[in-house]
């Protein structure tokens, strides 16, 4: 079922720096019975222009990981227990203006230089010379300039992620007001702020900062014209953004309410809103789970198409391995708050090295399976309340050995770009017996 081809498996490993690096991320939740280690030491990189698939079953921490990028995990009960999410903003390569040249490695994009060393390399940027922002450390205010602008997010159920009480157009317009106020003012020909009061008011309007009284003043004759121009400028931008996601009749759709649109249309609106500011990273949290299968394919095609045109990096969260196979360059498999295996899509699907990944792949129903019987990994996901230092998959793993319950396996590179956290692939710290492929206990 190759709906989308020409990407993924063949993509060459990228040497260029990552647009985002998650380093030992730990997000815990306080509960009545103890602290739940929902995300417990997750590390991965998302290369510039790359689509990384984060897969795992429900409750494995993939959504929490994704939401941590934008600080959308509710705290409390959530606790930032450690780690970092380093984000490196990019811009269009100045020497080739996005066409692709030697300097930018044919990607047409370049990381912004570090503020403190201007590209030389210093402590602050980890000697990469690139502007590096730790998303877990920056202030709420700074984060607001990144959200929806440099990093955008698409949610699982577009029916719930759009405000039922506001017309589509107003919701998409908010992104422009928030991040492109200056451009809007320029479009409306009001950027110079000639009239003292009117200029100031219209600037506040463009930044969504007006109060009711100011809005009222703006609706009165002397300022009305300027406001109309500003609104027209926004409407044009919104229509363009909607058209970008192949929504027919964008001008009409703008006046509609979410309940008047189909699920697929709503997701297109969400995507339009997300890519409106041309973000460096798009986080798609199960963007097709709530949609019909036929609509799913169109949405995936759209995301892939936009990603290639805008050269946006994508973090694609899913529990659906067949979808991930279609869209992702690289896949990281999560289990119980940890990443157990990560590799290029082709190697994960043809040559899985972690028993859990193998179990997952075996569980995908195919035409060869016996009718009426579904394959499942026996046992249940462990409770993540104060987990011991041991392999999380021990207890369900067919190859379990004493070492698995005594030590934590570490991510080990087995071939280029293929990492696995399993004692089959590296020796434990102690002298307990290691698991091997030859000995099956279950």
């Amino acid at each position: 079922m190759s709906l989308i081809d020409g990407i993924g498996p063949e993509a060459a490993p990228r040497a260029r720096p990552a647009v985002a690096s998650v380093k030992d991320l730990r997000v815990h939740f306080r509960s009545k019975v103890g602290v739940v280690h929902a995300v417990d030491g997750v590390s991965f990189d998302i290369g510039d222009g790359e689509t990384l698939g984060l897969v795992g079953e429900t409750g494995c921490g993939k959504s929490v990981t994704a939401r941590s990028f934008l600080d959308l995990v509710p705290m409390p009960p959530g606790i930032k227990a450690g780690g970092a999410i380093e984000f490196r903003p990019h811009h269009t390569c100045p020497s080739c203006d996005g066409a692709g040249c030697e300097t930018c490695d044919d990607s047409g994009r370049q990381a912004e230089p570090c503020d403190s060393c201007n590209g030389g390399g210093c402590e602050g940027c980890g000697h990469t010379g690139q502007r590096t922002i730790d998303l877990l450390e920056i202030s709420e205010k700074d984060l607001q300039t990144i959200r929806g602008n440099r990093i955008a997010m698409i949610f699982q159920d577009p029916g719930k992620a759009l405000n039922p009480a506001l017309p589509i157009g107003e919701q998409v317009a908010e992104v422009f007001f928030q991040h492109r106020a200056d451009d809007l003012l320029a479009d409306a020909g009001a950027s110079d702020g000639t009239e003292a009061l009117g200029g100031a008011l219209i600037q506040r309007k463009a930044g969504l900062k007006t109060s009711r009284i100011e809005d009222f003043l703006l609706s009165l004759p002397p300022l009305r014209g300027q406001r109309t121009k500003l609104m027209a400028a926004v409407q044009t931008r919104v229509a363009e953004a909607l058209a970008e996601t192949q929504i027919p009749n964008p001008r009409k759709v703008m006046d509609r309410y979410p309940h008047e649109l189909s699920g697929g249309m709503r997701q297109r609106v969400m995507i339009a809103q997300a890519i409106a500011c041309d973000p460096d990273l798009l986080i798609a949290d199960e963007p097709t789970t709530a949609l019909d299968v036929t609509v799913q394919a169109r949405i995936l095609e759209l995301i892939r198409d936009l990603q290639q045109r805008h050269r946006t990096s994508v973090l694609y969260i899913s529990h659906d391995l067949s979808l991930v196979k279609e869209v992702c360059d690289r896949v990281a498999v999560m289990y119980a708050g940890r990443i157990v295996e990560s590799a290029a899509t082709s190697s994960i699907f043809t040559d899985p090295h972690h028993p859990y990944t193998q179990g997952l792949l075996a569980a995908i129903p195919s035409a060869n399976h016996e009718r009426g019987r579904l394959v499942a990994i026996p046992g249940n996901v462990p409770e993540l309340i104060d987990p011991p230092a041991a392999c999380r998959f021990a207890g369900r793993c067919p190859y379990e050995a004493p070492a698995c319950t005594a030590h934590d396996p570490l991510a080990t590179t087995i071939t280029a770009n293929h990492e696995v956290a399993c004692f089959i692939h590296h020796a434990p710290a102690g002298d307990e017996e290691r698991p091997t492929w030859d000995r099956k206990v279950r």
């Binding site: 934008l70 205010k141 992620a161 009480a165 992104v175």
Partner: protein, 337 residues
């Protein structure tokens, strides 16, 4: 369907509802027996009584009596009030103005304060402001109106003397014309800010008494529906767009949280009208309340019917307004049905 069509359709149903309500009001009042008692005086002969009965059409069958009464209502003739010893219409309007002034000012305070407090608490769930608001709200909903009224009366009128009771200072009352009988409006029309201050000052105690309960209910409702809305995905989506928390609250969560709150606001208006009877008696407010209490005790049916009909119609209109606001806030209502 457009909102305008929706309003028109609702308006067309209104007269039918009013006719239905008037039949119920008439029937329920007449269940209490003939209203002749309130018109009788000691020493009347049987002939005089029969004459009275004929004059008020009390010898006709009930449906005919209803038609006479309904016709009277349409022409502004509400009958004779035995308690006030005057035509109901003449007494009703000035007293109605007093009651409405009290009810509307309480409602304004309740809506503004209730929504503000609810938003304030809901956005700070389980933190100190939320707990304080909860204490305030639960006290408001739990305290009997008459008790709270007397408490305020004793503290602020008897001991502290900060606020007066009654409706206005007689001298100030005489100073200006009273075209609307709403003293706040009258004083503003006359351009007399001293009189306006006096009118407001007199409003404080009864309006606070009456408004507290409604404020409490509205704040509770607003708080819980805001808490619910803040957990919706679209709130996170709004944050993910980069909107500051202030706008997430103002443009997204609060608007949706208002939808269920508006229903409660409409219902609490009925609560205000009810409570006004008690508040008016305790604070010597010359509204419909005291007159009504007397009329009920003495079986003055013409007055009772006028009052009940009026409050019912008012309630219908308020609920219509609620439905319209509802449709404005949530367009799915207009689409439905």
């Amino acid at each position: 369907m457009q909102i305008r069509d929706y309003i028109l359709r609702r308006l067309m149903v209104l007269p039918v509802l009013i006719i239905g309500v008037s039949i119920i009001v008439f029937a329920l009042t007449r269940v209490g027996g003939s209203p002749i008692g309130v018109y009788l005086q000691t020493g009347m002969t049987q002939e005089e009584v029969t004459e009275l009965e004929e004059r008020f059409h009390l010898d006709d069958p009930l449906p005919v009596q209803y038609v006479y009464w309904a016709g009277g209502v349409l022409t502004g003739e509400l009958g004779w009030s035995g308690v006030a010893a005057a035509p109901v219409t003449d007494v009703f309007l000035p007293k109605l103005a007093a009651t409405m002034e009290l009810a509307i000012s309480s409602a304004l305070v309740a809506v503004v304060l209730g929504v503000a407090l609810g938003t304030f608490a809901g956005a700070r769930r389980n933190r100190l402001p939320d707990h304080l608001t909860r204490v305030f709200s639960i006290s408001g909903a739990a305290m009997p109106l008459f008790w709270f009224a007397i408490l305020l009366l004793i503290v602020f009128w008897v001991y502290l003397g900060w606020f007066p009771i009654g409706r206005s200072d007689p001298n100030i009352y005489a100073r200006i014309d009273h075209p609307t009988n709403l003293y706040t409006i009258d004083s503003l029309l006359a351009g007399d800010f001293g009189a306006f201050g006096d009118a407001l000052w007199h409003l404080v105690l009864p309006a606070a008494t009456l408004g507290y309960g409604a404020t409490a209910i509205i704040a509770r409702m607003m708080r819980s529906s805001l808490v619910e809305e803040l957990q919706e995905d679209y709130v996170d989506a709004a944050r993910a767009k980069g909107l500051p928390e202030r706008l997430v609250l103002r443009r997204h969560a609060r608007r949706n949280a208002l939808i269920p709150t508006v229903t409660v606001i409409g219902l609490s208006f009925g609560f205000l009208l009810q409570g006004s009877v008690v508040a008016e008696i305790i604070f010597r407010w010359p509204g419909l309340g005291r007159w009504m209490a007397d009329s009920v005790l003495r079986g003055d049916q013409a007055t009772i019917m006028a009052y009940v009909l009026f409050t019912s119609v008012l309630f219908l209109v308020v609920n219509l307004a609620v439905d319209v606001i509802y449709a404005y806030l949530d367009r799915r209502v207009v689409l439905g049905e």
